[in-house]
């Protein structure tokens, strides 16, 4: 008796339906999460590396202005490095020898911003992203220099909290 040869069943002309129910579930959850985090603010601020913002009950959305950030190690204007900090104080090379509160590179950068971005500069607004652990002495130097450069309106950037 001859053995019957095994035959692979032909799949030609066969259709199948993909079960997308679970994928739809996943997308629905994702959509709800993204809708919750959807930002309606006109100005979007990028989080700065090594800057832990303080929490505040303020519910005001950010506005446009000169963007400054201070971490424990450096002061930046946007992405541009301006001055370095060590042990919660600015390196002496960046400070005016005649005025201990005056940060020279910051003043120069804000002066340039005044020329290049006249409309925004007229508002005199500075958006400051500063690390929560920094002492007031550091913040004061930035505020002082900014007001000298014609930016007396300081807006403190915070995160939402209690």
């Amino acid at each position: 008796m001859s053995r019957k040869r095994f035959e692979v069943p032909s799949k030609r002309n066969q259709s199948f339906s993909l079960n997308i129910t679970s994928m739809t579930d996943m997308f629905t959850i994702l959509l709800v999460f993204l809708l919750q985090t959807y930002s309606t603010s006109e100005v979007t601020l990028d989080a700065v590396k090594d800057v832990r913002l303080p929490q505040s009950i303020s519910d005001k959305n950010p506005i446009d202005g000169a963007k400054l950030s201070i971490s424990a190690t450096e002061l930046k204007f946007g992405q541009k490095f301006l001055a370095s900090l060590r042990s919660n104080s600015f390196d002496t090379a960046f400070i005016d020898p005649h005025d201990s509160n005056f940060i020279k590179p910051l003043f120069e950068e804000l002066q340039n911003f005044n020329k290049s971005n006249e409309k925004l500069a007229k508002t005199g607004k500075v958006l400051l992203q500063a690390d929560e652990a920094l002492p007031y002495s550091v913040i004061r130097k930035v505020m002082y220099t900014a007001s000298m450069a014609g930016f007396p309106n300081l807006k403190l950037i915070t995160t939402v909290g209690q």
Partner: protein, 182 residues
């Protein structure tokens, strides 16, 4: 004889819902929302106030005789609220709690008391010591800005309509008065 038409309803019938169009919409929506999502929600502290309060602040600036409130912050004492009016000075001190942090609930209570006595004042001068942490300053500004307790409101006069109204703002205008000190 005519046979009566009988509607054949199968109560156990099943059907597949076509989810493909729904999924197509979601696939398009997700990237749009991903781009415009703010995962770290940032806010700003600024004095953007109701018109009535703004007018009251203007009125206070015009009146040099109104009380001056200064808040001094130091690591040794805590928060000192100095109220100067008609040549006399009153000082309130808020110390630290068990964790050696500023006693914020007491600070808020003291500021509410001060506001009740001086409802026309909306501005405070903040004089922190050099070593005070930035997060503490933000917290003090939060406590001074608005009253937290529900139902507590302060009288303010609408100069346009002449009507008396109320607000929950206490001292929304904070001035770093020692900023120019060396």
């Amino acid at each position: 004889m005519k046979k009566r038409f009988k509607l054949n309803i199968n109560h156990n019938s099943e059907f597949d819902l076509d989810l493909a169009p729904l999924l197509a919409v979601m696939v398009k929506l997700v990237p749009v929302l991903l781009v415009s999502s703010a995962f770290v929600q940032m806010m700003i502290i600024e004095t953007d106030l109701p018109q009535v309060v703004q007018e009251a602040i203007k009125k206070q600036d015009e009146n040099p005789k109104s009380a001056q409130i200064a808040v001094e912050v130091s690591k040794s004492v805590g928060v000192k609220i100095i109220i100067s009016e008609n040549g006399s000075q009153k000082i309130e001190v808020v110390g630290f709690d068990k964790d050696k942090k500023i006693d914020y609930p007491t600070l808020q209570a003291k500021l509410v008391e001060v506001k009740k006595l001086h409802p026309e004042v909306f501005k405070i001068d903040l004089n922190p010591d050099a070593e005070i942490a930035y997060k503490d300053l933000v917290k003090i500004m939060d406590e001074a800005r608005k009253v937290r307790a529900v139902g507590v409101r302060f009288p303010v006069k609408d100069s346009k309509t002449g009507k008396d109204t109320t607000t929950d703002y206490m001292f929304p205008e904070v001035v770093f008065s020692n900023m120019l000190d060396g």
